[in-house]
Symmetry: C2
């Protein structure tokens, strides 16, 4: 049993990090760049000009492609691939958050691939054999896509949301200026905080024995994110808070927090949330916190000590010697924290009132109509998943 | 002020990690490999055969070059460069600890360079413009060279020990099987533990404000290393201990523990020890612990809180509100720990009894005869350094 860490992304963190774009692109020998982004805000606030001025200075040509939305769309990705082919693009820069990065990764896969449709990589029909290089100017701390091997996109034809993981898509560089996240709205700040915590928790709740060093690093990450998530909510322009969160976003999803563990992690909460956000328009981080406590109570009998140590090291909960009570106290501490940053701890708080029929359908889709189970800390069958949707439906 | 992390090394950690050598070399397209190593022990214990069997299976040719000693010698490096040129080597594998890796890095620089002598890169006369690729099969947890940008070698002509840092020499892969460190003798295990702790402390005591997240990660590393360093000493074949230490060795020196800080770190203790091990034959880790407490007392007035937080988070020392006493308690906790793993806290315990003339000479060499100062947490002039050698000379 071995575990692997591969993080080739050169990360620059701090004020003015984005001023290194020209240097990075020159170092990679880029000649014509796709500047990929989401809303027009980064045009209006001058960030895009700051970036393209560097390209002009380096004599690097570029083409703009904006319009990436949360849950990045396959149609825009296909448009991006065609544009890149036509323009002779050799490097892709994602200026934005996780959706823009994931869209850029998909374009980079498609551009490299000469044999068919990029969607194949997301259905699992084919595996990527390479990718064009991408770089990131990050404007949102949340998904960790700036260092991860993961890309999640949505095919509007059937509203299918699918992910593709491979080392090919790991960005070559990531420029992290915390100031660029000052304008992230409170709700998105909290969703990002929740997302980082959940990326770490999904790896902490793997099956089997843990490496204590990795647990200690994970506790350090969770403590830091919990503290600064709240501070950033109170004061969006707190530089220290934004800096701690920005770096934690990268380390929460680059696999550092799975070294020495069974690296498959658990990921049941992600998949349970996935179905929910497929059926309803739910923000990912909020969907995760809405479910987590119910999932935790459903599975904690497997290894209560894992929960007790978590509560103790992240929120300072005290041991009484009663394992059931101590594990419950750890779960409550997390739920209280989520509520303190205005994240939901039930599905109804997402504005979704599930009917029994919907619960049946969600659980059935989650297990691919009986073709798979979820989770690894505890293996979840359809009945388990139904029980979790039911338990999470209303706030207790 | 930005900080950068660049860790392109693909790390595989766990039992049997070394069985991935053939796969890794195939992935990099290696055709003829230099297998570089230290003592003949790895021939006798069968490790080398286990490695070369994989190369045979992949149809990859290879040449052996052993004999690397602690403080790797320039003469062997030159011999290695000539051998690689003659044999048409395109990849270098270092099978061993820090000395073997550093020697391999120097050969890789020299092999790439067509313009002169490899020693130029270590005197600073020229900067490396590239390097042949290297990979690592690690057999000793200590220096962190398996992920670092650093290489330190010794020129026998004048007994000059010099380092060269550049991203070019970062290994492409590192295979970390904790079982391969079971045979490391107790004294070397303790020296390795000390080395990892000091690599982290040198970055913790940078000048200026710290990133709390990085401090929290550093505390997690120091706590883990302190715990498992002692366990590995008591039971050399404790797998969990060796695994925690092995991974900590990599993370203590790849710059993760400097993100968000002034990345120049402090490094005064390293340079003070450097002169000592230049004049006397002193193990690096032991030389560092012999000096650290005296250095700490000399500088702690600059920012006692940094020491208090360190003691509190690593060894659980309690605050009394008296900053002087609390900082002293933190320093004592570290010294007591070093003694508990049989590391010295004075120079006499290294078997070295310094004369006033030797102290004068060491301090003068440390500041390059007045041409530089040491340290960043506190800038040290020659008189400071003399005071530290004097204070550290005898055990209190």
């Amino acid at each position: 049993m071995t575990s692997t860490l591969y993080t080739p992304t050169r990360v620059t963190l701090g004020q003015g990090a984005e001023d290194n774009l020209g240097n990075e692109l020159r170092a990679f020998g880029a000649r014509k760049v796709l500047m990929h982004y989401g809303s027009e805000r980064i045009i209006r606030n001058g960030l895009m000009k700051k970036l393209t001025d560097q390209l002009d200075k380096e004599g690097i040509d570029y083409v703009l492609l904006g319009g990436v939305k949360p849950n990045p769309r396959l149609s825009l990705i296909r448009e991006g691939i065609d544009l890149c082919r036509k323009e002779g693009i050799d490097f892709i820069v994602a200026a934005g958050g996780g959706s823009v990065i994931d869209s850029a990764k998909a374009i980079a896969y498609g551009l490299y691939d000469k044999d068919g449709d990029v969607w194949d990589f997301y259905t699992g029909a084919r595996k990527p054999q390479g990718s064009y290089p991408i770089g990131v100017v990050l404007t949102l701390s949340a998904t960790g896509s700036e260092m991860s091997d993961s890309s999640v996109i949505t095919n509007e034809d059937g509203d299918l949301k699918r992910g593709c993981n491979s080392d090919w898509c790991r960005p070559r560089f990531a420029l992290l200026n915390p100031e660029l996240t000052y304008s992230v709205p409170p709700y998105q700040t909290s969703c990002g905080t929740a997302d980082m915590m959940m990326h770490t928790l999904e790896r902490y709740f793997h099956s089997g024995a843990s490496l204590e060093f990795t647990n200690n690093l994970s506790f350090a990450l969770l403590r830091t994110v919990a503290k600064y998530g709240r501070i950033a909510l109170e004061n969006p322009e707190d530089y220290e808070a934004r800096k701690n969160l920005m770096w934690a976003s990268s380390l929460s999803h680059n696999n550092l927090m799975a070294m020495g563990h069974d690296q498959r992690g658990d990921w049941a909460c992600h998949q349970i949330e996935h179905e929910l956000s497929g059926m309803f328009d739910v923000a990912h981080g909020a969907g995760l916190t809405a479910i987590w406590g119910t999932w935790a109570r459903h599975v904690c009998h497997v290894d209560r000590e894992r929960f007790i140590a978590l509560g103790e090291n992240v929120f300072g909960t005290k041991r009484t010697g009663n394992d059931e009570a101590d594990a419950e106290a750890a779960i409550v501490a997390f739920e209280e924290y989520f509520r303190s940053i205005n994240m939901p701890t039930s599905i109804e708080e997402l504005g979704v009132n599930l009917t029994p029929e919907q619960i049946e359908e969600l659980a059935d889709k989650a297990v691919f109509h009986g073709k798979r189970t979820l989770g690894a800390f505890m293996t979840l069958h359809k009945d388990d998943i139904k029980a979790i949707y039911e338990g999470a439906a209303k706030r207790k």
